[in-house]
Subunit: 471 residues, 2 copies
């Protein structure tokens, strides 16, 4: 799609780079403030990586919580995020996110019209249930509502527009972008170069770099191409690098989160995590195929579990039985149809399929079952859940498990006004950022459901501040 | 000191920025290779932060170890570094460092003439004793020897020369530096600008950024000015930032090491660590003054130990007794004279001085002594060294312990030829780096005594490779 240049004739105030949760939130706020906005998206569909999210958003102190008798506060969510983040989080940014969380949730529900399930869930690392999931269990719900609102606001979204460079004036202020208009992902020499000036600001909301093997491996050499990503393949670092080129300070780039419940036998997030995360980890076991032994507390936190998996140097086998699957009560049809999760009528069959020594595996299950009966794991201190049962009822369910790169906590340094900060600790004039492209909010470890909160809170701030810039 | 420009007349091949272990090692090797070299040092004394090191160097498989019956190898040291580094280390760089370690140690001893004590020590995180300390217990010994050799090699070291910028040609190759000649630390508007071309390369060996509060706090917001640093105040980030400006890739910047054996009652590295690191951790105990209890395996790696200290939220007490001090056999005169370490004729006196409950402290020592006798620490799994004794012989020695920023593991990305790597993963032509300014060798945590090994191994490679560049 070639940009209809008539839109430039009256001038553009704000250019938003990226059309995920954060970018669209920024664009909406800026347009609401009455300035002219365009959104640039390199892909041929809007929504970026946000559309594959499950759409869960964390908000403390909601009426849902009050009705459910859950005592929560921005302060408690703040503490949870700092605990998970190992104290590396920028406290002032976490404060902004947690204090703005409830309003952002209500904005998505009441202003945009996202329909949420009538339930409050707790995810690992949160001390209370504060997570809301759309009825569709998909981030695409929020993206659709954001796009609909932008249409009403007459904000154009130009697809197939790849930002090659930020343009600066002689004072270093960002005054526009240079793009390839008509860009097609993974095709070279397509499209035409074009320069678009922005009278007020450029807002970078281009996402993380989970699929950028080269860039992520430089920060963590283990994360080479033997590891897949739960992200879409276009989640790459070119905009981060372009911001670094003009002096943006990169913070905590080596803090990269792995999902420890993914299958190496499918691409992207896939169908496996529903079995891995919700069945194997609580009710089953992880087994090293070379020894037939367990090697970890399967209910350890994401970071510890991923580290333990990587130390194995090869995919492991996640095993559950019919009883565990029944207790967990999730619909595994898709994972079974894809062949990511397989069933076996006997442990012997399972062992043969994965090339695990049957005697060793049998002994491991016996040891595990003994532990379940005693209610105590003396080997790895896994908490035995009340509803846990012994692992012996066929069919046995199994999936290969190997981590995938899931979220990049590090990125561009920003301040509480979403201004991008130069390595000399001064704001880069005319440049704002929001969402996964930024760093410092989640520190060493992002908690599930906090990313959407962050994208909406900081994205909206970026839109408002940019609209008020250079008046 | 204004540079004698006559040195430029015949042209300079290599400019080394920084005069610590790594920079001087690079300069020596380059000069030995027959090219012309100069060293630029911003301060008015050479040696940088290296002169306050204790000079301990790790080397595996030495004759000292063989004589002492210690089985060690580069592979074992490699594994130790990767374990401490949480696998974030660049494996190929760790391989180069560990395989070159013994030669680097012998180079410092036999080629430069550093006199080492006839002992092999073990530091936290090493699985065997492989650390050698100069007779002077000071890194200044090595610096002096390096300076003496450079004098023989007629390599000039220009003090008070502050590198403001790297100069590049139209292809991006680094071809020289722009400096302030006659720079004086903490004084502005002094000195004159000067450009120095380098025919072959610039080698950056400007050290870490432990004293750069602004830069380090951006990576880890906890490390504000409430924490002191063991580094000299001039250990700042200006050269790292200048390298980032021309596109160098910053890796693992948020991995910043705290020294867990420092005294909050003195500035800089101080006299305390000799007692804290060499006496308390192996032979004594750390006690929380509020409870009188131990709280950690005192021989844990630096990172775990520092995190455990920060969680205490206040300085703790390191305690040893006369027997431990005797076994450790270090001269504590300076620490005692400074009053950083104090002696007490009885445990009661010690408890009273620090406001610790005497009964609780007495019970802690009894429990510890029982553990020493049994050779096993069931509380915190501290390894009980063969020569360890019970903690009961007056006088008791004690010191307040609180972390200080000690080492910045992150920095410029380099390859095995010490070439600085651009964020697009291509080498920046004409630019090399070595020492603490680089990142990726130590990953999440540097082990004690591995830094000097790294500085010598990588510094020498940088010197040799730069000398062979652009022939």
């Amino acid at each position: 799609m070639t940009i209809n240049t008539s839109v430039f004739e009256s001038g553009i105030d704000i250019i938003v780079v990226g059309s995920g949760f954060a970018g669209l939130a920024a664009a909406i706020e800026a347009a609401e403030a009455g300035v002219s906005v365009i959104v640039l998206e390199k892909m041929m569909a809007p929504g970026g990586n946000s559309v594959i999210s499950d759409g869960g958003i964390a908000a403390p102190g909601t009426t849902y919580q009050i009705d459910a008798g859950i005592s929560d506060s921005p302060e408690l969510m703040y503490q949870d995020m700092l605990t998970a983040g190992e104290g590396l989080n920028y406290p002032e940014l976490v404060k902004v996110v947690t204090e703005g969380a409830n309003e952002a949730f209500l904005w998505s529900r009441d202003y945009l019209g996202v329909k949420y399930k009538e339930r409050v869930d707790i995810f690992g690392g949160h001390t209370v249930a504060r997570c809301y999931t759309p009825e569709s269990i998909s981030g695409s719900e929020l993206i659709k509502r954001q796009l609909a609102r932008l249409k009403e606001l007459k904000v154009p979204i130009f697809l197939g527009t790849y930002v090659r460079a930020l343009i600066q004036d002689e004072m270093g202020r960002v005054t526009g972008v240079q793009i390839i208009d008509g860009y097609r992902y993974n095709q070279s020499n397509i499209g035409i170069e074009r320069t678009i000036p922005a009278a007020k600001a450029v807002i970078v909301a281009s996402g993380g770099f989970g699929s950028d093997v080269e860039f992520r491996r430089a920060q963590d050499p283990r994360l080479d191409n033997t590891l897949k990503s739960t992200n879409k393949p276009f989640a790459t670092a070119e905009i981060i690098k372009e911001c670094l080129r003009i002096g943006a300070n990169p913070v905590q780039l080596s803090r990269i989160q792995l999902g420890p419940w993914t299958s190496p036998d499918e691409n992207g997030f896939g169908a496996g995590p529903l079995f891995g995360d919700y069945v194997v980890l609580p009710y089953g076991i992880l087994v090293d195929p070379e020894t037939g032994n367990r090697f970890v507390n399967e209910l350890n936190d994401r970071k510890s579990l991923a580290e333990a998996l990587l130390k194995q140097k090869h995919p492991v086998i996640g095993i559950a039985d019919a009883a565990g699957v029944k207790i967990a009560d999730w619909n595994l049809t898709r994972a079974l149809e894809k062949g990511v999760v397989k069933t076996y009528n006997s442990l012997d069959d399972l062992a043969r399929y994965y090339g695990v020594d049957y005697g060793a595996l049998k002994a491991t299950l016996a040891r595990f079952n003994d532990m379940v009966k005693k209610g105590k794991d003396n080997d790895f201190q896994k908490p035995i859940l009340n509803e846990a049962t012994t692992l012996e009822e066929p069919p046995f369910y199994a999936m290969r498990i190997w981590p995938k790169v899931h979220h990049t906590m590090g990125g561009l340094q920003i301040d509480v006004s979403a201004r991008v900060i130069h390595r000399d600790q001064q704001p880069i004039m005319g440049l704002y950022a929001a969402g996964e492209v930024t760093g410092g909010i989640h520190g060493a470890c992002r908690l599930g459901s906090c990313a959407i909160t962050e994208c909406l809170v900081i994205g909206r701030i970026a839109g408002r501040k940019a609209a008020a810039d250079r008046i």
